[in-house]
């Protein structure tokens, strides 16, 4: 988000700007000036390095670099859905030219993560004024959690939901609550038939909460429209429970 929107006619932002084979200095200046205004897409030859919680590198090649006003950085290659290397919203982008190489750095401070892209050649530069529309999603796990939060008796009488999307070292727990007797309850939601991995996941969360809170009586409930026989066997083996729930329809 930049201030340009609030300055009226002072600097009119175009819907898009496209440059083919732009000079590296121009690209650097464009990135530094419009990084908070446009979604910028570069098709360029580059080498990419990431350092943070882990390390990664991409060998020299032609790929897409996308940066968004909120700081998101995505490096896309010619396969798969997910970006090969990326930095989340909140990161800051800096571009410079050093010895005829365009150096683009995306820096995240908390936790410290840096992506460095080095490129001798940019084929295409696009600055696009994208919007953020209203997004509606039906039938997701989040919908199910929300549904239970508002109607806790769907789980059982006396259930009190406490914490949604609880971030832990072993993952994000969908919902943690307390039952009528005061026992902690961990819930894992699946929007379609749950298999053995879901049972394992629930077991991991239950063990984690037991250990973290120092209590033995922690219940685990898998909430899904249906479960596979092997999931059922695992739930029984681990002393976990199952509650049938369909994702709510709008």
């Amino acid at each position: 988000m930049s201030l340009l929107e609030y300055l009226g006619g002072a600097e009119r932002i175009k819907k898009y700007e496209v440059y083919t084979e732009p000079e590296l200095e121009f690209v650097a200046k464009f990135l530094n000036t419009y990084r908070s205004t446009y979604v910028i897409v570069l098709f360029l030859a580059c080498e990419v390095n990431y350092e943070g919680r882990a390390r990664a590198s991409l060998s020299y090649g032609d790929r897409l670099l996308i940066t968004k006003p909120d700081g998101t950085l995505l490096i896309h290659e010619n396969r798969k859905r997910e970006p090969t290397i990326w930095n989340p919203p909140g990161s800051t982008l800096y571009a410079t030219v050093d010895n005829n190489i365009l150096v683009i750095k995306s820096i995240r401070r908390n936790p410290p993560e840096t992506v460095v892209v080095e490129s001798p050649c940019v084929y295409l530069l696009l600055g696009a004024r994208c919007v953020a529309g209203e997004f509606k999603l039906w039938g997701s796990e989040k919908d199910m959690v929300e549904y239970v939060f508002r109607n806790p008796s769907l789980i059982e009488e006396g259930f009190r939901p406490l914490h949604r999307e609880l971030k832990t070292l072993v993952g994000e727990i969908d919902l943690v609550g307390v039952d009528a007797r005061g026992n902690l309850v961990v819930l894992e939601f699946k929007r379609s038939t749950a298999g053995p991995e879901a049972a394992h996941q629930l077991q991991r969360y239950v063990e984690y909460i037991k250990h973290e809170r120092g209590v033995e009586n922690v219940r685990g409930i898998l909430v899904a429209p249906s479960i596979t026989p092997s999931a059922y066997r695992l739930l029984t083996k681990y002393g976990l429970e199952y509650r049938k729930l369909e994702p709510p329809r709008h």
Partner: protein, 248 residues
């Protein structure tokens, strides 16, 4: 001679320049018989600086006609680092050059080349603020420093009763509340509750440097709109920063 002015507190002047230099590399001072103005956007267009110093804010002031002085703030900052407590600073433009004199026990003169930065007249950002809070700038600085430990983004929230500065991440949550009874809240006016988030990198740069200039800061914002942080400079001057919001 196009203009000449003397600012009696060189250290205060240095803090003002350092504050602007944290965001801006180059900008143009517009010096008129009425006073000095400077308005500039940072390179990424996320923040804007607006400095206004009337002629009364200076110990000595003379200006014949409107003069535009483009300067590099990094260079100016380095020169002003030489200021000591009790020094005065004098600016004079004559013969196409800017002469800066630091006047103390000894007098040191520096000359800066003038830069021609395109004539960009920036308007005041058009925002209808619904919350206006005046606080001790130290208290705000402390809250921002605390937030920097946790996250990259800071949330400002103003309700009928209270103003809060919040931050959250995997590391934890921070909430600093300023209620009407708290000693750091000087003025409070909320016509409509407001919530907005801003980059801590920019907020930190702005607040940490500017808290040295003024004891009080006025924060104005509205939901998902830019924030205006106004620092008052003694004898009628003001330094205002506008910062674009971060959409969640």
């Amino acid at each position: 001679m196009s203009f000449r002015f003397v600012f009696s507190d060189a250290r205060e002047w240095r803090y003002i320049i350092e504050s602007i230099a944290a965001l801006i590399e180059e900008a143009t001072f517009v010096v008129t018989p009425e006073g000095v103005k400077l308005r500039a956007l940072d390179p990424s267009r996320v923040a804007m600086v607006d400095l206004e110093l009337p002629s009364t804010a200076f110990e000595e002031y003379s200006c014949e006609a409107e003069t535009r002085v483009g300067v590099n703030f990094d260079d100016m900052k380095k020169i002003l680092k030489r200021c000591k407590k009790d020094d005065k600073v004098e600016y004079e433009v004559a013969g196409g050059k800017l002469k800066i004199k630091i006047i103390g026990k000894a007098t040191r003169s520096f000359v800066l080349p003038l830069i021609d930065i395109g004539a960009e007249t920036l308007p005041t950002p058009r925002v209808a603020f619904t919350a206006r809070v005046k606080l001790l700038s130290d208290a705000v600085e402390e809250a921002i420093r605390d937030a920097e430990v946790i996250a990259d983004t800071v949330k400002l929230e103003a309700s009928e009763e209270m103003f809060a500065i919040k931050a959250m991440s995997d590391k934890g949550d921070l909430e600093v509340q300023f209620g009407r009874e708290s000693g750091s809240l000087i003025e409070y006016e909320v016509t409509e509750p407001a919530v907005a988030s801003y980059s801590l990198e920019y907020m930190g740069d702005i607040v940490k440097k500017s808290a040295k200039i003024a004891d009080l800061v006025t924060i104005e914002f509205a939901t998902n709109k830019p924030v205006a942080l106004t620092f008052e400079i003694p004898l009628g001057g003001r330094l205002v920063y506008y910062l674009a919001p971060r959409m969640e």
